[in-house]
């Protein structure tokens, strides 16, 4: 957009609705599966929802379709303006963390849309999760608009608008089973290629059992872990991942032990260990990476966990892979079945 003086004489106010078209729903599916990850964008600017007047509320959101659509669908039957910030196709909370959903962009967008001329009040309703990037008092002093933080979830907006008050529950971020489930597809897409390669490598090193074990350990980390998160023992993600990975690897280790009852006991134990050692750290690593998807992990906490667990993961994985290679050599050159 070109705004030579930062304030066009007649800003374009685009109409929008609260109804989701089939194309919107398809866009949501693609976004959840990570297709064109950063290209689910709405054009930044001012939108009119219903038939807003000069005293209608102004809601601010990110130019990510899932953010914009959550807002407009929550506002069914409400007349208002939606001011879309340019967050480069990133959702409100993440963009606020980066600062693109920030004080500067709010002030800039107020000017670029000539909001002073559109409404006669001076209040912006921002999503609460935009607060890490926006200093309300600075927006007020720089633009004249008072920032009001609405609820965490757009769905609570109608209740919030009744008296412009959010209940303590509306101010709390959650991480429900549904919240966790919608994250799984994009994690699966990210892991698909590495998983494919690991499965093939495992097949040649340790046979079909190792291959299946890799798939189980990865699925335990990417699917089972997010689902079971609140019910897993211990607080840290890596520890939980180790436990879950151990449970996932155990049947394969037992199968490897029982498969050749005539072989030497140390060979059978070695084959079981070659699964029981390297697979749990894979699950633990994926669990540790899930910290970025949650709504409650702090940088201090994650850093502490990384220092504590990554060496353990590296050692158990390294020893396990070493053992697998030794066993593969024994199988090829030693003629031991």
């Amino acid at each position: 957009m070109s705004e030579p003086d930062g304030r066009p004489a007649h800003p374009d106010i685009q109409p929008t609705t609260s109804t989701m078209a089939l194309a919107d729903c398809w866009d949501h599916v693609l976004a959840r599966w990570g297709v064109d990850r950063t290209e689910h964008r709405v054009e930044p600017g001012l939108y009119a929802l219903g038939s807003p007047a000069a005293d209608s509320p102004v809601f601010v959101t990110a130019n990510y379709t899932l953010s914009f659509d959550a807002l407009r669908s929550a506002l069914a039957g409400i007349d208002g303006y939606i001011m879309v910030l340019d967050t480069q196709g990133i959702n409100v909370w993440c963009a606020a963390g980066k600062g693109t959903f920030g004080t500067d962009e709010v002030v800039h967008r107020v000017e670029a849309t000539a909001l002073h001329d559109v409404v006669d009040h001076r209040v912006l309703i921002l999503p609460q999760l935009g607060a890490p990037g926006v200093a309300a008092h600075e927006v007020k002093s720089r633009s004249g608009f008072k920032v009001e933080y609405g609820p965490v979830r757009a769905a609570d907006l109608p209740a919030y608008l009744e008296n412009r008050q959010a209940t303590p529950d509306m101010r709390r971020v959650r991480f429900t089973l549904r919240d966790r489930l919608v994250l799984i597809p994009v994690e699966l897409v990210h892991i698909l290629l590495p998983l494919l390669i690991a499965t093939v490598v495992a097949f040649f090193l340790g046979g079909p059992l190792a291959s299946a074990g890799v798939v189980a350990a990865v699925l335990a980390g990417v699917v089972l872990f997010p689902v079971l998160l609140p019910w897993l023992p211990t607080r840290d993600f890596s520890g939980q991942g180790f436990i879950l990975g151990g449970v996932a690897a155990l049947p394969f280790a037992i199968a490897a032990f029982l498969r050749h009852p005539d072989a030497a006991w140390w060979l059978r134990a070695g084959r079981a260990l070659a699964l029981l050692l390297p697979l749990p750290p894979v699950t633990a690593f994926l669990a540790l990476n899930f910290t970025g998807s949650t709504t409650f992990t702090s940088r201090s906490g994650v850093r502490r966990e990384m220092f504590a667990y990554i060496p353990v993961m590296a050692w158990t994985f390294g020893i396990g892979i070493g053992l697998t290679i030794v066993l593969a050599i024994v199988r090829v050159f030693g003629g031991l079945s």
């Binding site: 993440c94 606020a96 607060a131 990037g133 990476n289």
Partner: protein, 89 residues
């Protein structure tokens, strides 16, 4: 040293003017508004998002904010960048 051993959140009640912004913006109810002054009620739950610090008009709150994302921190450690930023959608 923070108020909690688990994170870097620091709060100086002497500077608080009781505007209530911190308890409004915190997504984990770490602050509560008591007798017209903010109180740290659940410092262990702080996720260091930085919303309270950013919206405190008197600088009564300090927190070393950043993303609690292992993938981002590993990537930054490997590429030599200092500030961990997420690159997810």
């Amino acid at each position: 040293m923070g108020a909690s051993e688990l994170n870097t959140l620091q709060y100086d009640p002497k500077l608080c003017i009781g505007c209530g912004m911190c308890s409004i913006v915190c997504p984990h109810a770490v602050f509560a508004q008591n007798d017209h002054v903010a109180q740290l009620v659940y410092p262990d739950a702080c996720m260091e998002c930085g919303a309270c610090q950013r919206n405190c008009p008197t600088g009564a709150i300090a927190v070393d904010s950043g993303v609690g994302c292992a993938a981002a921190m590993m990537r930054d450690a490997l590429t030599g960048r200092k500030e961990a930023t997420c690159e997810c959608g």
